[in-house]
């Protein structure tokens, strides 16, 4: 297992999970989110090749109502 920080919460995930796998695991639509891995924005086309490692910090954001 890899221990990561996802949207500020400590979670454990399987080893060698890609960003794409993580998005799918949370039933998110990859066209509706943006991902930041350790402070670096990940391009959508790289979601499958980017593997998540122990201690990674991941932020998944989307649009919500705002003024």
């Amino acid at each position: 297992m890899a221990k990561i920080q996802l949207n500020g919460k400590k979670v454990s995930i399987k080893q060698k999970l890609s960003v794409f796998d993580l998005i799918k695991k949370h039933k998110l639509d990859d066209s509706k989110v943006a991902v930041e891995l350790n402070g670096v924005i990940i391009a959508k086309k790289k979601y499958k090749e980017k593997l998540i490692k122990n201690n990674d910090k991941i932020e998944i954001v989307h649009f919500i109502g705002g003024g």
Binding site: L6, N7, G8, K9, V11, H26, K27, L28, S31, K32, V33, A34, V35, E36, I41, I42, A43, K44, E59, I60, V61, H62, F63, I64, G65, G66, G67
Partner: protein
């Protein structure tokens, strides 16, 4: 004659022409259904949206995009809640990654109580964003000198506040807004403070290119009705501005001729 004037009147931001001069926010509504109904009634072509963390624990939570299709309405990602340049830039870069959004609303706040903008951080951020190819609509104070500075560093639109965000206090400084309107070559959109239709009319009569409204609609008792009211107000104010108001007189001037009076 009037039709000709209206036909020539176009609203252009960053080389894109819009029909509606009303931009609406999507915050503070009871639910997404209410948001969508109000947006529709407003006739707006652009809506502001915020960037936030996905709730990873609640997988069934509805999302804004399910109610407002970004293919049918233009999303204008904002940086609401950012108090420094670094956070604002991070937010907008993420927004761009989400789906190629280049037209963005920059808002760097300086004070938690008044939500007045931090203009130093705002100018700094505008410069960086323009360099990165963003079309930046900038929330700002109503200081004409700072508004000019924003235009000089490449802002696509100047968005001075009429009064504090969400206050509904209306147009508090007509003189400053007028000075900004007169000097600006990019659109001036009054952002923040509009409380009701008459405020929007005043802003448009001053010669603003557009207004951005959120709370006035969302916090009214009937948001859909208020959205429609603001739509009409913006059209009405714009038409009055184009028509040009009459001169004010200190004494009465009869509307009916005195000739032939019995």
């Amino acid at each position: 004659m009037g039709d000709k004037v209206l036909k020539k009147d176009t609203f252009k931001i960053a080389n894109k022409i819009f029909k509606s001069r009303l931009i609406v926010g999507t915050g503070k509504y009871k639910n997404f259904k209410e948001t969508a109904a109000a947006v529709k009634a407003s006739g707006a072509e652009i809506v502001t949206v915020a960037v936030r963390r996905v709730n990873i624990l609640d997988k069934k939570k509805p999302v804004l995009m399910d109610y407002l299709d970004p293919k049918k309405i233009i999303y204008l990602p904002n940086t609401a809640g950012c108090f420094n340049s670094e956070d604002a830039l991070r937010t907008l870069r993420l927004a761009r990654e989400m789906g190629g959004w280049k037209m963005v609303k920059l808002e760097v706040l300086g004070d938690k109580k008044t939500l007045f903008p931090n203009m130093i951080e705002t100018i700094k951020s505008t410069k960086v964003l323009v360099k990165e190819g963003f079309k930046v609509l900038v929330y700002c104070s109503d200081d004409p000198l700072l508004a000019k500075k924003l235009e000089d560093v490449g802002a696509s639109a100047i968005m001075p506040l009429a009064s504090p965000i969400g206050s509904g206090l209306g147009i508090q400084n007509k003189v400053n807004l007028s000075l900004i309107i007169k000097q600006s070559k990019v659109p001036v959109i009054v952002d923040a403070g509009i409380g009701t239709a008459s405020d929007a009319v005043i802003a448009m009569e001053l010669g603003c290119d557009g207004v951005l409204v959120n709370s006035a609609i969302a916090k009214s008792k009937e948001p859909t009705l208020m959205a429609n009211s603001l739509k009409n107000a913006v059209i009405s104010g714009r038409q009055s501005f184009l028509a040009g108001r009459m001169e004010k007189e200190y004494f009465g001037s009869a509307s009916s001729p005195t000739k032939g009076l019995i």
